[in-house]
Symmetry: C2
Subunit: 261 residues, 2 copies
DNA sequence: CGTTGTGTTGAGCCGAATCAACCCCGGTGG
DNA sequence: CCACCGGGGTTGATTCGGCTCAACACAACG
């Protein structure tokens, strides 16, 4: 269904995961191979599927190979708040362990996930220090994204919120190997964006219109294009988060294939 | 200055910490004594003191013995978002370790803190399973409080936000041994509340007025009284979080990772 | 061919921000 | 002792961003 969105998930299912972790930590080639070698017990999910229930105990840890999900909470009167979006390369339920989940995880598109437990066990066992560091960094990054989102909700105008949000998605998706420095898949309805950004559907629509009129973005059939990322960043007021480790050397440049092994 | 606010900090400095942890985990008497016996290297801080800088690496972990602080971020143009309030019994910088902090921690009142490292080390060493569990629960609880705050910001009216916020404070403070089931210290200016709740000073003032007119709360000289907590809870729409362990069952032995096969 | 979900657009309203006074109170210093 | 000052709180008038309601367009799909 979303072959454009997740181009390599069929041939190299863990590609997004490897890219994500590599951006956060210096993985040895051995670790990369270790990661690719685990039995991953793939699973498929449909839009709307509940991947993790609110209040659940000790959810299964999984990697997302393809598709989008979100962490959310629904109030008694139907209002919904989306806390974060989970993209290919992200992991589910790696925070709380023996304690009830504070949010539900729901699939937004068709998805594919893999068992993350073997990799986590290896990291915890001390066999793969690079992996262990990457997982901790992942957790910290998640926290940072949550805080960013909170700033959007509490202290930014709708225009700023949307600008900052789109920038965040672009950066995250580029790292996961989807999209480039201005173009990326955006399989979200305006309702979903509204529930994330604390805005009504109608208002999300108007802001997107405005961003288009201002020639800052284009949106066509599930693909977003940031025409002037720098101006968007100015509008966004506070800098989108550092998604990579600060170190000088990073994964070898090109979008196509990191890690020649 | 705030002797009513922190009545036992002089005689039993760790009282709030012990109470907090006990509410989360079944601590043995030995563990409680262990906790009280650590060298805690107390420190005092003044309102406005920076306890942890944004972007700092590996901050010192400390317990709060007395006084209030907050986690916050300040934007370039001066806007501020407060993410959470840190109360007596809470700990600072227990999440990220080797990674840059995503938020600053700032003292809001005069404070006293203690070194948490000995206790954390003991927990990590496996000497005190109850403590270890408590610390993990503490982290999860913090996460939950963040998400609650996000719901307030994104999906609640000002009136609901304030109601829910006051209820949260009451519950947390009661557990820490400050205040009772409707009365608690509230040393926050309306500006601070505004920066937490995403509202202007003026509007915070009006909402508080309204809550008073509706005979739901009283505010006098740094003390808040919830006249009808149940009605406040109804207004708050979504239930304030579970701050204690669900007394019946928890994990007495399975403190490691549950490993759901 | 209707149906359903998503996007679009207009009209009107309302919640919350802004602007601007003013009050009260606790310093603090002449 | 009083004059002054600054921080916090209170209040009114006005503006405005974003919501609600409502209608319609369009595509995917049965």
């Amino acid at each position: 269904m979303t072959s454009r969105v997740t181009p390599h998930s069929a041939l190299r299912p863990l590609e997004a995961v490897v890219r994500r972790l590599t951006a956060l930590s210096a993985l040895s080639d051995a670790e990369r191979e270790l990661l690719r070698g685990f039995p991953i017990r793939r699973e498929r999910h449909l839009p709307g599927d509940l991947l993790l229930a609110e209040g659940a105990l000790g959810g299964r840890r999984r990697f997302i190979l393809a598709g989008w999900a979100c962490r959310q909470r629904t109030l008694a009167d139907g209002r919904r708040q989306i806390f974060s979006f989970l993209l290919p390369g992200d992991s589910i339920a790696c925070v709380a362990r023996t304690l009830p989940e504070a949010s539900a995880v729901v699939a937004l598109t068709a998805m594919e996930t893999a068992d993350a437990q073997p990799a986590l066990d290896a990291a915890q066992a001390g066999d793969a220090p690079g992996l262990a560091y990457a997982f901790r960094a992942l957790e910290a990054l998640e926290q940072r994204l949550l805080l960013d989102h909170m700033v959007r909700l509490g202290r930014q105008t709708a225009y700023e919120r949307v600008a900052h949000f789109l920038l965040e998605l672009q950066r995250r998706l580029e790292i996961a190997g989807l999209g480039d420095d201005q173009r990326f898949p955006l399989p979200l309805t305006q309702e979903i964006m509204g529930d994330a950004l604390g805005l009504s559907i109608v208002h999300v629509n108007r802001i997107l219109q405005q961003l288009r009129r201002d020639r800052l973005i284009e949106l066509r059939s599930g693909v977003a294009i940031l025409l002037e990322p720098e101006r968007l960043a100015e509008i966004a007021v506070f800098p989108p988060p550092q998604l990579r480790r600060a170190s000088a050397a990073q994964s070898p440049g090109g979008l196509g294939d990191p890690a020649p092994a």
